[in-house]
Amino acid sequence: MSEDQGTSIIMVSTEEVPGRRIVKTMGVVSGSTVRAKHVGKDIFAGLKNIVGGELKAYTELLGESRDEAIQRMLEEAIGRGANAVVNVRMATSAITPGASEILAYGTAVVVE
């Protein structure tokens, strides 16, 4: 996750990159995505929910959405000339009854 598509960009959830020194701060970067699964999987998940437990289709969907949001955040960071994103946070919000938004944000920095 820290190194995506050949571009070496570090991503951490801590305030600093452990073991490196921050030389420049490039501001807050963010990425978000809104996704929905097709109806078939929705019905299948509904059936699995009778007994309860993990709904893998939704777990995968949200995992993919988070990866996408993170990817967009990293692209913004790369665009600003940063080589690391620190203090990354994730947020989920239900914007309508039909869809959820996944948001990833952090501070783009240049580390030594």
Binding site: M1, S2, E3, I10, M11, V12, S13, T14, E15, V17, P18, G19, R35, A36, K37, V39, D42, A45, G46, K48, N49, I50, V51, G52, G53, E54, L55, K56, Y58, T59, L61, L62, G63, R66, V88, R89, M90, A91, T92, S93, A94, T96, P97, G98, A99, S100
Partner: protein, 177 residues
């Protein structure tokens, strides 16, 4: 004429089947949920706890902390963010019990179980990722949960539990990976 009789009978039979399905589906599903859900969730929790104890044994301690800084003041060779999520369907039985509890209040122990299952599972996924990547420690671990809503308002019963943290590898790692 005979063929139409047979077809007519088949048609009536089909309609009865469809009606029976809609009439009995709910009660039967509810019974299945009542009988099996608690047992299934306990078994899943036991499985996760076994995995947790085997990872803790492998490390000699729990590699996850929610402290901001690494526990050792040593040189760090690699740091990266890791994450895991788990979408939980609480099950019809739990939903029913929970709706009754809103009348009387109190602790819903079967709901506690499924939420604990989800939290332990995501934390264990972080431990697994740390162990696979040969990381020594995961710091700044955070847990979040949200109700998700995709396509239908019905699916907003599902709970997404999400955990993330920063995995750290020390320069002179004492893990043999």
């Amino acid at each position: 004429m005979e063929i139409w009789d047979v077809l007519g009978l088949l048609f009536v039979f089909l309609i009865i089947l469809v009606i029976a399905f809609f009439v009995f589906f709910g009660p039967i599903s509810f019974l299945i949920s009542m009988i099996f859900s608690r047992r299934k969730h306990r078994k899943m929790i036991d499985d996760v706890m076994d995995r947790v104890s085997s990872t803790v044994n492998e490390y000699g301690r729990d590699p996850l902390t929610n402290k901001k800084n690494p526990s050792k003041n040593e040189q760090i060779s690699e740091a990266k963010m890791i994450q895991a999520n788990f979408v939980l369907g609480p099950g019809w039985w739990n939903q029913w019990i929970a709706s009754w509890h809103t009348l009387f209040g109190g602790n819903i122990s079967s709901f506690d179980d499924v939420l604990m299952l989800a939290r332990q599972d995501v934390l264990q996924s972080l431990r697994d990722q740390a162990s696979e990547g040969g990381f020594d420690e995961v710091v700044n671990v955070r847990l979040e949960s949200a109700r998700i809503s995709y396509l239908s308002a019905k699916s907003s019963k599902y709970i997404d539990v999400f955990a993330y943290g920063t995995a750290i590898k020390y320069a002179n790692s004492n893990l043999s990976d």
